[in-house]
Amino acid sequence: MLSRPSRITLPSIARWARFNGSSSRAAAGGVTLVPTQEPTPEANATLTEEEFSSMIIHGRSVYPPLYHPRTHSVPVAQLQFRAYQHQFLDLYMHFVGHAAAALGIPISRPVYLPTQRSLWTVPRGPFVHKKSQENFERKVHKRAIKAWDADPEVVDRWVRYITRHAMPGVGLRVTQWKRAPLGIGQQMVDSAVGQTRLGSGADKVKALAEKIVQQELLVEENADTATR
């Protein structure tokens, strides 16, 4: 280990230490990016807790997160974040990125969706005086992060971790895409057929309407028989 790593090499060391972990180092065949440490397959197998923790560069959150390369580009999840202030959002993006990096989930950079701006122009006084008004606005800042290739369970854990350490004032919407087994469509249809939808008023209305029609026809018949 370098006694006092220079500012310039620190990010590269950090990246190497974090993400060229013991398993991938063995697979890569001991490729060295930093001259001081030369990992060997035997050494990787017997890595102690002290050795591993000494390799971790603390304070890595100061740097932007590592974005893992996509293995198959199969989209797995999309997270959409909304907030009234952009500072909290950007801080949360940084955190989310680091969490994904730690879990090995390939994600996109935060995508800046268009900001929604609502404007209200309102008279200052409670009565009349329309010529003096005041403008109020509300901006909704939005960001989106897309995730690829990870296992659904890993994505679930990521989302759970993120929501447990959620930023106040930031809302999150998660869209997940999972693989379903063959015949899932038929299964869903079969399970839905036996059940009635709660709260769909259309069937109730039609049933009532039928009853009303019967009643009216009866009334008509009685009227006819009475007049004859």
């Binding site: 009234y84 008279p123 006084g125 606005e137 509300r138 901006k139 909704v140 209305v205 008509e220």
Partner: protein
């Protein structure tokens, strides 16, 4: 104690909710061109007997603070002056004075 008009509006909302399905059924019969005109007419007459609070047009948005019927901003359920007072006190989330 809210405004008399607010109370009327609350009553209207409750009654409309209770009668909505019935009203729609009668409307369906009255507007259905496949049925005979006598049945449709009967249904329309029945509809006319319903009270005014069953009609959804009696429902009107009112300010939740002052009970004002005009100048309502639906998102906050406030009239424009109450909206301004709350916005200046920063009681409405995300709303601030605009300048650009």
């Amino acid at each position: 104690m809210p405004n008399a008009r607010v109370l009327r509006d609350i009553k209207a909302r409750n009654v409309v909710k209770a009668n909505e399905v019935l009203r729609r059924a009668y409307l369906y019969v009255a507007r259905n061109e496949t049925l005979s005109p006598q049945v449709r007419h009967q249904a329309q007459l029945q509809l006319n007997t319903f009270g005014k609070y069953t009609r959804p047009t009696t429902v009107k948005n009112r300010c939740s603070e002052s009970g004002r019927g005009r100048g309502i901003i639906s998102e906050f359920a406030l009239c424009r002056y109450q909206f301004r007072l709350k916005a200046l006190k920063l009681e409405l989330p995300g709303v601030h004075k605009a300048s650009w």
